[in-house]
Symmetry: C2
Subunit: 214 residues, 2 copies
DNA sequence: AAGTGCTTGATTGCACATTCACAAACATTT
DNA sequence: AAATGTTTGTGAATGTGCAATCAAGCACTT
């Protein structure tokens, strides 16, 4: 494939575009303009055109973008043409919710195995996904060649589990624990910190309130 | 309070600092340097000092920062001195997981009411939180003066529910649906888009792999 | 009390990202 | 075929955050 260098900020928006393109396609739409896309995904239309232009001239002036064209293009870019298997580490409340979350429908992602230490659920199949004991982590991950994991273990076990995953060859971690994991540079950690985000929201609301009062 | 203007990026890091300060305080530590903090929260030490300096001179040169001082200061800044009540809209798998999530411990946030349309759970109390019918939304939110809500309803109901919440005076929404909500400018929407983040992670991994191969 | 080492706080330059504004290019109408 | 309207793609300006650097100030030792 091409060796184009895409800005981080752009890369984060690609899945957003992709999802809306799927909807447009299902609705039978043939073309879409940057202005129209802008309203749906709430990104400035100029930014959209800029984002798209990193990949070359995808649109037609005076016409817009061809939905099917864009769709097949993004499908490749985002590796949506092949199913991506990921692992779920830690089957607590949040873990169970994620097991039931349908990543496959619009993202072609599937949780193909889960791990926990709780003997009551290991060895069973939950929501169609086999739950293994933590001691099988390395074996299973390498066998299934899984390079992406979702981490939903208690904070106390976060770093230890991370070390094991890294050891097993995991290259991407979606971290739901509040701990900032330390991992080698070639392992990408995406933090999803629910409490922090809520708190940030509260902070912004209160500071805006103050501005309004002044 | 002061009318200081804090960069977005800084504001997002504040809860992170706060959480680690709590830990330090529990460990009985009196002082902390920006370098030490840096390792724990994985933010450049210069950035930490810059972040802190927005609020004035909090530290002592050649010494570091006084943990208790910082803690009480951030507690006020982040409104952690008073309990913040939030509402949970939509009690599905994810909603239930969030009900069990302990926001109170280190964040002084509490889910004080939940809403759903499922007659099997409305009128009951789940994980200590009363679940009301959706039709009581406006009444309850205004009665309890709740201005922050967590949205975990199906995509199809997202916008309609948002309109109702806005109508009821909600000013901050943590949106777990993949829909980009439209809301008045004074309502802050924080998107937590799990599928998108996973997909971004996959994209980065694959593009890095390509770079390594070249 | 003088000197040494450490840490903050501020300045500066840099890199990245967003937005504006408009020419170029195409579609459509007359 | 000419004129008009629409939409892209991009140069340039602006905004935003990050990283390196260093003087000022404090603690601690001798």
């Amino acid at each position: 494939m091409e060796k184009i260098k895409i800005p981080k900020a752009t890369a984060k928006r690609l899945p957003l575009y992709y999802r809306y393109l799927i909807i447009l396609n299902e609705e039978g739409k043939d073309k879409v303009s940057s202005t129209e896309l802008s309203e749906a995904v709430q990104v400035d239309s100029a930014s959209i055109r800029r984002d798209f232009s990193y990949f070359g001239a995808l649109g037609k002036r005076g016409y817009g973008y061809d939905v099917k064209n864009l769709l097949t293009f993004f499908k490749k870019i985002l590796n949506q043409d092949t199913l991506t298997n990921v692992a779920l580490i830690g089957v607590g409340n949040l873990g169970r919710a994620l097991l039931n979350y349908n990543f496959k429908r619009s993202n072609n992602i599937r949780i193909s195995c889960a791990f926990d230490i709780n003997k009551e659920i290991t060895g069973r199949i939950l929501s169609g996904v086999p739950v293994y004991d933590m001691s099988d982590l390395k074996q299973q991950l390498s066998d299934q060649q899984i390079s992406i994991a979702i981490l939903t273990v208690p904070s106390t076990a976060a770093q230890k589990t991370t070390d094991e995953m890294v050891d097993a060859g995991v290259k991407g971690i979606m971290n739901f624990t509040p701990i900032r994991l330390s991992a080698p540079a070639d392992v990408r950690v995406q933090n999803v910190d629910l409490a922090t985000e809520l708190q940030t929201l509260i902070y912004f609301l209160n500071s805006e309130k103050q501005n309004n009062e002044n």
